[in-house]
Symmetry: C2
């Protein structure tokens, strides 16, 4: 037994999958779930995703060695403050959000301080909700942890251990570097996918235009089905990196636009070859 008790706050796709995976690991004595939606909580308890649970953050979470926060990024800090009222001074708290600097820097100044560890399991689906829970969601995926100067080493080790139990490969990156990297490889692609679907839908070609999405669009529509509420929160929490990523992207697209406009096929080929070659390097890994 690695942990006597772990609490998971927020039983959506991530929280539910995490709770289910912890139970399946056999390394956690009790998995306690907090979920304000009663129907979701009932589902989690009836289907064995959590051992016990409650609808509100309260005394039920006390006695946990680790509390995992799995709510939307724009509510995470508030949830952390509520949690801190019910835990002993040695309880470790981690989150699971896609944006790290705002929460990590705010927690540095909070009562949790050295016992808070920012974490981002790089896993997900375009679906959401506890009924989509999948105990294998984190297996073979990366989990980024973002310790800062005053993070206590015991807390860091415990959080790394927890994500290792889920089958994840844990890597350490600073919170600001994390947000810059993920603005490019995750948040920007989502903004682009949403924009692409919006421009096709509003083209005046009618709904049947989607019948032809096999020509390329289909690759983008999967992630455009992701939760708007969750992604709006992520974009705004990671505001500065997002704005910079969108501007850089617009610059690259404008290069292609200008090459098309001027009919410069050689230059256009050079621009596309650069991307193809980068993609090939990626394929080698």
């Amino acid at each position: 037994m690695t942990f006597e008790k772990v609490s998971v706050v927020g039983l959506g796709l991530i929280g539910g999958s995490l709770a289910a995976a912890l139970r399946e690991s056999g390394e956690v004595g009790e998995v306690f779930g907090v979920e304000r939606n009663e129907e979701s909580l009932r589902f989690a308890l009836e289907s064995g995703i959590a051992d016990a649970g409650s609808c509100e953050i309260g005394p039920g979470i006390s006695g946990s060695e680790i509390i995992v926060l799995a709510t939307y990024v724009d509510t995470m800090a508030q949830v952390a403050r509520e949690v801190s009222g019910f835990v002993s001074p040695d309880t470790i708290v981690c989150d699971t959000g896609s944006v790290k600097a705002p929460i990590v820097r705010e927690m540095e100044k909070s009562s949790l301080s050295i016992r808070f560890v920012g974490a981002h399991p790089v896993a997900g689906k375009e679906t959401s909700g506890v009924k989509e829970s999948d105990s294998g969601l984190f297996s073979g995926k990366r989990c980024v942890v973002t310790p800062v100067e005053n993070t206590c080493s015991e807390a860091l080790s415990a959080v790394k251990m927890l994500f290792s139990l889920l089958g994840s490969e844990v890597v350490e990156i600073g919170p600001e570097a994390h947000d810059e990297i993920f603005s490019l490889v995750s948040h920007l692609p989502h903004a682009v996918a949403y924009s692409l679907v919006n421009v096709v839908a509003s083209s005046g070609e009618g709904e049947n235009i989607f019948d032809f999405s096999g020509g390329g669009l289909a690759d983008f529509t999967r992630i455009a089905g992701s939760s708007p509420q969750m992604w709006a929160g992520i974009f705004i929490e990671n505001r500065d990196a997002m704005l910079s990523a969108i501007r850089s992207f617009s610059g690259k697209l404008e290069e292609i636009e200008k090459a098309i406009d001027s009919g410069n096929v050689e230059y256009l080929e050079t621009l596309l070859s650069k991307a193809r070659d980068s993609k090939r390097n990626l394929g080698k890994k």
Copy 2:
């Protein structure tokens, strides 16, 4: 036997797959391939992709009921002119390119005229070349044919029959409407994917940034691996529709950018919900 002889000019991924599928159908007496790359031609003949072939457009293609052009879109018109020197007045010619109006309108004025049928099998992979040929490539996929006022009905029927033999669902659309639709559902997504990979690669985060592409980028990198030469040709052939598609897309992305910049989370959610809902409608089909 539906056709005594069909010639395929250009044995790349599309031409090679098409020749292989025609042979497999058992409905074509002889499949003759033209491929100027000697090694590719040899491969096609040795692996049974074509029954016979030559390195140049010449007398070998005569006697064909249909000649299928499968070269890059920016060379298609020139190839059609060369072909017309070796065929009888009743030979039907079709192409397979991703852009239709330029070739169709040019052929209207050529000696092929009523016997030319524009066609676009909506199938492909990010790989290219005859060695990637796959006789199942067109099965269950759409093939758009773009007849115009003076296209003779016999030619149209024969080309529709040919693509039906490959297992494709054939639909008729005007060439200009085709180019507008595909600028949105195929050409724009490719331009966007290339730009996205270029911005990530040039971010200064180093090559390791691609290790995190599971967070969304991976969905886009597949099509950014497509042939730069082929896609540069497509973008430029479909110039006006492409420029208009890129501008509309940039407008949609700018809406998201402004909502992030002003911190307007409700409006941002509305923009993303629109895309999610369109994607759901797509999923119903």
